[in-house]
Amino acid sequence: MTAVLDDYLNRRPAAIQPLEFPHNTHLGKEISCDTCHEGVNTGPVAGLPSVKTCMICHESIATDRPRIQQITAMRDKGIDLAWQRVYGFSAQDHVRFDHAPHIRAKVDCANCHGNMAEQTVAEVKVDHSMGFCVNCHNEKKASVDCLTCHF
């Protein structure tokens, strides 16, 4: 029953991540978001990095940590981290969101995702309701035509 209700209200179940990824630690190292979410500047999807992305640095950095050894082992077995999407629109919302133009318009990542330097695993800090999007579009004089996002 709750599933039906969640579905009707477009509520997403809370994401359970395979690994408690510390966003704060990484951002503290002056790594920018697009280092790992590599699609964010170029296209619609920011992307959830695979272990291959982790191993670019962790082949040599912090290899003594058990968690790093764990993901190294996963990579060697060909198993990837099954990240759960934290933000996202339900299929029935028919939203075609494109990251790239927002990045080009100098919208700060934190605007929509909260300050990641204060989060370990990503949590829903901003409610991505239509009102949230429309308000910002109105402020920035971006188009609020339905077809801007819904097609």
Partner: protein, 230 residues
């Protein structure tokens, strides 16, 4: 000046092959409904090639006419929709906003061209056919009206790219799937507000006419008839 998207169909080039029909299905995630539903008249073809017989054997002629949403400037589908699911955009498209659609089907009744299609069931793609789905286009669910969008996802992609590169849009840069697939180049797409564009030129052609023009719908698709001269 905003764009005003339009199309022209040269019926002297169109040979009725139906490539546009399949191209449209492939681009826009239009589900096949299967034989039983097709028999009920529920096949969804956002673009169709109508054919009309004229005369009797042996002096018989047959005419093809590709019909898709005419993206009318004065569209009868728009005012009747109680929720604005069907509405007019700044660049002249008749938008169909699936998430806002409650399924009154009034727009389809009002459309004189019968180019709107209703999803009678949740569409299904038997695995792994779903791998083909275009992620740039929504999957419509049961109870929603759908129709030709002039491949709005392609329009968006190119206009976003053009904006990123800070340049002018080139004529012919945007091709909806049907236009792209047409080997005979019977379909031309472009900006009607650009007087230099091919589609502007064709839509002002003295040969050109609009489908059911007398209804006052002001369609943005121009048809150039087949020459009858032998």
């Amino acid at each position: 000046m905003p764009h005003r998207w339009g199309m022209a169909a040269d019926l002297d080039r169109c040979n009725g092959c139906g490539a546009c029909v399949v191209a449209c299905a492939a681009e826009n995630n239009i589900s096949t409904v299967g034989a039983e539903q097709a028999a009920l008249g529920r096949a969804k073809h956002w673009i169709r090639v109508e054919r009309y017989w004229e005369g009797e054997f042996p002096d018989v002629r047959l005419k093809f006419r590709p019909v898709m949403c005419q993206q009318c400037d004065n569209a009868p589908c728009e005012p009747v929709c109680p929720t604005y699911a069907s509405h007019h955009t700044d660049d002249g498209l008749n938008a169909q906003v699936y998430n806002r659609c409650i399924g009154t089907r009034y727009c389809a009744n009002a459309c004189p061209y019968n180019v709107r299609f209703f999803d009678f069931f949740n569409p299904s793609w038997e695995k792994p056919l779903q791998l083909q789905l275009n992620p740039d286009v929504s999957l419509r669910e049961v109870g929603v009206m759908e129709k030709c969008t002039f491949c709005v996802q392609r329009i968006k992609a190119v206009t976003v790219q053009v904006a990123a590169e800070d340049r002018e849009l080139k004529d012919g840069e945007i091709t909806p799937a049907c236009v792209q697939s047409c080997a005979a180049k019977a379909l031309v797409f472009g900006d009607l507000n650009d007087p230099e564009s091919e589609v502007s030129r064709l839509s002002h052609s003295p040969r050109g006419s609009k489908l059911l023009e007398d209804l006052g719908t002001l369609p943005k698709v121009t048809y150039l008839p087949r020459d009858t001269e032998a």
